[in-house]
Symmetry: C2
């Protein structure tokens, strides 16, 4: 048996999220269906770095699985890709030690959230950018970001539907905003993220950007430890799981 | 009765083309459905500058229709847009003389065809860009474009499925190629276009770009007056009806 780690991309538009569920098509189900074909009907369990919600995209999701096939590593990517639908792509496949675990071994993640900030929608961006019509105060949102960075209990930015039982303390290493014409990109890099955390952060930042909240409210929102204190959850289609980080292994 | 002219955009991905047909959803059917709602169940016939095929997009399709509603012109755009699906957008609405005709009055059109020229596909561009893996010789394609410009009988670049009965002489004012990183844009501006003409032109240009044909073959392809002489039809999803031209009316 060999353990393989893959970086995959997917367009979440037509999926009921990453994780297999009884109703609705999922990315995991597509991956396992493709692997089952390659393994002559045998089920191959796929483990991802974490789930993504319905409509959320991934540029750098990481998965692992075990295989007894003797395909040369250089052929794996094309072999697996050819069995997947056009909205899921395998970017790389590498052999990893048998104790590597895509979920437990992550040291952090990067999410990006894309906003199309224009009076009119752009229908050709509608699946990948959240359209915000009104003007946004970028500097106010940047100030708000500075309060998000650091180690905090992020309960206020976690959906009550979470199944996390442990504490909700996470470290955000970086919360940044960049502008390119009418496109605004939010970048969050952190040790870990709670359920809907990036979408609630963005929803709250957008309320700051619109002037409905002061950036200085953010520390008290965090201190409230109450989901009701934060802003609305931004829609899923602007969100991309951008990169999953792992510790470099020494020899 | 008042005649209105609208510029509309649509994402052709989920449509069986622009024009109403017995089977399959169409852009025209969506427009007429929305107008029927606004007109209390009365059918409003929509006339477009021309059809687009299944999967082809539009940034600047032009339509006209007649209405007896007394909505102020400035409210029309939002009223109609609100009844349309998210993949069709009304960009502008203006009042025109009652003898304006969206199809008969066109003086020319511009189409753009977008190629994503990279070793790997980009799944987030897959609906709007034709992925071409191999390297393309841009200069050779530009030379080929120079032979396309001008007045020619474009029978070789017309699908035999056409229902055009008249001659197939058209004038291409401009056939240009621009490059931006891995994106290649083909721009065609002409007096009129035959069925599948842009897609056959692009398919032929791509064969030149790959080195399968010499740019100097283009004049003989045109002279052959035979669809078999030209290259393959490029897929629909890279194609956009970009702009429709009309004569400026004097007072």
């Amino acid at each position: 048996m060999e353990r393989l780690r893959c970086v995959i991309q997917y367009d979440g538009t037509h999926y009921a999220g990453y994780q297999i569920q009884p109703n609705g098509n999922t990315v995991q189900a597509e991956l396992e269906k493709a692997l089952r074909k390659m393994h002559k009907g045998q089920r191959v369990k796929v483990v991802a770095s974490g789930r993504t919600d319905s409509g959320v995209h991934a540029k750098g999701q990481v998965i692992h699985f075990d295989t007894d096939l003797t395909i040369p590593l250089s052929n794996w990517r094309r072999a697996l890709s050819s069995l997947l639908p056009a909205d899921i792509m395998v970017e790389s496949v590498e052999s990893v030690p048998s104790d590597f675990h895509a979920r437990y071994d992550t040291t952090g993640k990067e999410y990006r959230y894309f906003v199309w900030n224009a009076k009119e929608p752009d229908i050709f961006k509608r699946l990948y950018r959240h359209h915000v019509r009104g003007e946004l105060d970028i500097e106010a949102m940047r100030e708000a970001c500075s309060y998000i960075e650091g180690e905090h209990d992020f309960t206020s930015f976690c959906s009550p539907k979470t199944d996390i039982k442990g504490d909700k303390v996470r470290t955000i290493y970086r919360a940044e905003i960049s502008e390119d014409g009418q496109e605004i990109t939010f970048v969050f890099r952190g040790s870990g993220f709670l359920y809907n955390m990036v979408r609630i952060l963005v929803g709250t930042l957008l309320e700051v950007g619109r002037g409905d909240r002061s950036p200085r409210e953010v520390p008290s929102i965090i201190e409230a430890v109450d989901r009701e204190a934060a802003g609305r959850t931004a829609p899923p289609h602007g969100l991309f799981l951008w990169k999953v980080h792992y510790e470099e292994r020494g020899e």
